[in-house]
């Protein structure tokens, strides 16, 4: 058993491969020139990589061997005539604060998340929406119940635009899914996507709802762990209620004075139920605390956290984005993350110690680990 990492960067994807020891890694670089924003492997073994070029827009490439990639002829796209969010268009256009875009259409400009279930692949996109394929990417259908839900016109974008970036599912209950949208909420459906409700009770929402990433064990799907803009939270009831769970985590001061553990990435090793996050020093700085790149690990379902920095640099001034941490789910679990300055770190001992396995890459936007 080996491992392959698909490291999505601003200018292509690094594919790192290793054997079961996960010490020596080979590197290939594919999809040159395409920002690679997410990847997934479906139940048939096909790999999908989402790309989003600033000029030529988003698309999805597929591969059966991580070497040869072919672009799909279909991609998530809104229906003509759907009204866009002026706030999102203002941010992705990096201009136009005069409201000129208020009558613009809703367009897909980036695919932020890909999520595979037993018989489908879901795509979370910006401008925020959810799409699904049930034919290995040959066609993509909008999940209208999500994309046009009541209140959708009130959604506000975050710093990266109005994006659906987190998708979770319940393998035992195909009617239940969760989708996180920055900065508008964490939504759950219990009827197969027809209706959705926002789930942030107990989360500090003084300045709005800004979920950053959520993880869980599909075998215990209703226990959720949430890295939010305003701290780290746990829910034991599928998201109905949340409690702060930051004991042992470094806390910084947000722009409004709220103190919490800010960050983006959160991941879980399912065999040991170990959790991993990469705290950053508040939304003002978005840098590792005191320059020490560190992963914080919990082995008791987020009740307590411990710093793990063995092998990580003490002078690091880059962050870890929400999609840039992954676990291979082998035994012992391998944990991987990439930084916004192009370094990839790997742990082959469930996050106890780390080694740099790639550097000099462009800004890293996504990391997914696949047992091969």
């Amino acid at each position: 058993m080996g491992v392959a990492l698909v490291v999505g960067t601003k200018k292509g994807a690094a594919v790192l491969k290793s054997d079961g020891n996960r010490k020596d890694w080979s590197t290939d670089f594919v999809l040159r020139g395409w920002p690679v924003t997410a990847s997934v492997r479906d139940s048939t073994g096909r790999y999908y990589a989402a790309v989003a070029n600033d000029v030529y827009g988003p698309a999805i490439f597929v591969s059966d061997d991580l070497k040869e990639w072919k672009q799909l002829e279909a991609a998530p796209r809104y229906k003509p005539g759907e009204k866009g969010s002026p706030g999102h268009i203002r941010i992705v256009g990096a201009s136009d604060f005069m409201g000129r875009y208020k009558d613009e259409p809703r367009l897909v400009d980036q695919i932020w998340a890909l999520h595979a279930t037993k018989d489908a692949v879901y795509a979370g996109v910006s401008e925020a929406g959810l799409f699904v394929t049930r034919d290995r990417g040959q066609s993509w259908e909008p999940v209208d119940g999500f994309n046009n839900q009541p209140g959708r016109d009130q959604w506000e974008p975050g710093f990266g635009g109005l994006c659906a970036h987190t998708i979770l599912s319940d393998p035992g209950n195909p009617n239940r899914m969760w989708v996180g949208v920055s900065s508008s909420g964490f939504f759950r459906t219990d009827d197969g996507g027809k209706t959705w409700s926002e789930k942030s009770a107990g989360v500090n929402t003084d300045l709005g709802i800004c979920v950053h990433h959520v993880t869980h064990d599909p075998a215990k799907p209703d226990v959720l762990f949430r890295q939010d803009h305003r701290g780290v939270y746990r829910s034991d009831d599928a998201g109905d209620t949340w409690v702060v769970t930051e004991t042992g985590l470094p806390c910084g001061e947000l722009s409004d004075g709220h103190k919490c553990s800010f960050g983006f990435a959160i991941a879980m090793d399912r065999k040991t139920h170990s959790l991993f996050i990469a705290p950053l020093d508040s939304d003002n700085f978005r840098l590792p605390h005191d320059g020490q790149l560190a992963i914080y690990k919990s082995t008791d379902d987020a009740k307590n956290w411990q710093q793990r920095k063995d092998g990580l640099p003490s002078q690091c001034f880059s962050g870890v984005l929400r999609g840039a941490m992954s676990v291979d789910q082998l035994d012992p679990g391998g944990v991987y993350f990439g930084t916004s300055s192009g370094q990839v770190f790997a742990s082959n001992n469930v996050g106890e110690s780390w080694a740099e396995v790639a550097s000099g890459l462009p800004r890293i936007m996504s990391v997914e680990a696949y047992a091969t």
Partner: protein, 90 residues
């Protein structure tokens, strides 16, 4: 037949082809024919509203043609278009 030169990043979509051939009497019609013959490439030329993406340009008879001019710009048989992206960055 019009020849269209494809920029390097899009050659990942054309199987490495540097040029494509298409029919049409305007730049937009040529792009529409490309999208019909090469649907994967069409995703990169047109957005959901069937508009040509904002930052695409093409060079025709040594002049730059912008998206809002492409439906009007006439092309003659045997001519060449260079598909490109607008300058961005410093």
């Amino acid at each position: 037949m019009i020849r269209v030169q494809v920029p390097p990043v899009l050659r990942a979509v054309t199987g490495g082809a540097r040029t494509l051939e298409a029919d049409g009497t305007t730049v937009r019609e040529v792009f529409e024919d490309i999208a019909k013959k090469h649907p994967a490439l069409g995703l990169h030329l047109f957005d959901e509203r069937s508009g040509i993406r904002r930052n695409i340009i093409c060079v025709h008879r040594d002049t730059v043609v912008r998206p809002d001019e492409m439906a009007e710009r006439k092309v003659d048989q045997g001519e060449e278009l260079v598909l490109a992206n607008a300058f961005a960055g410093g």
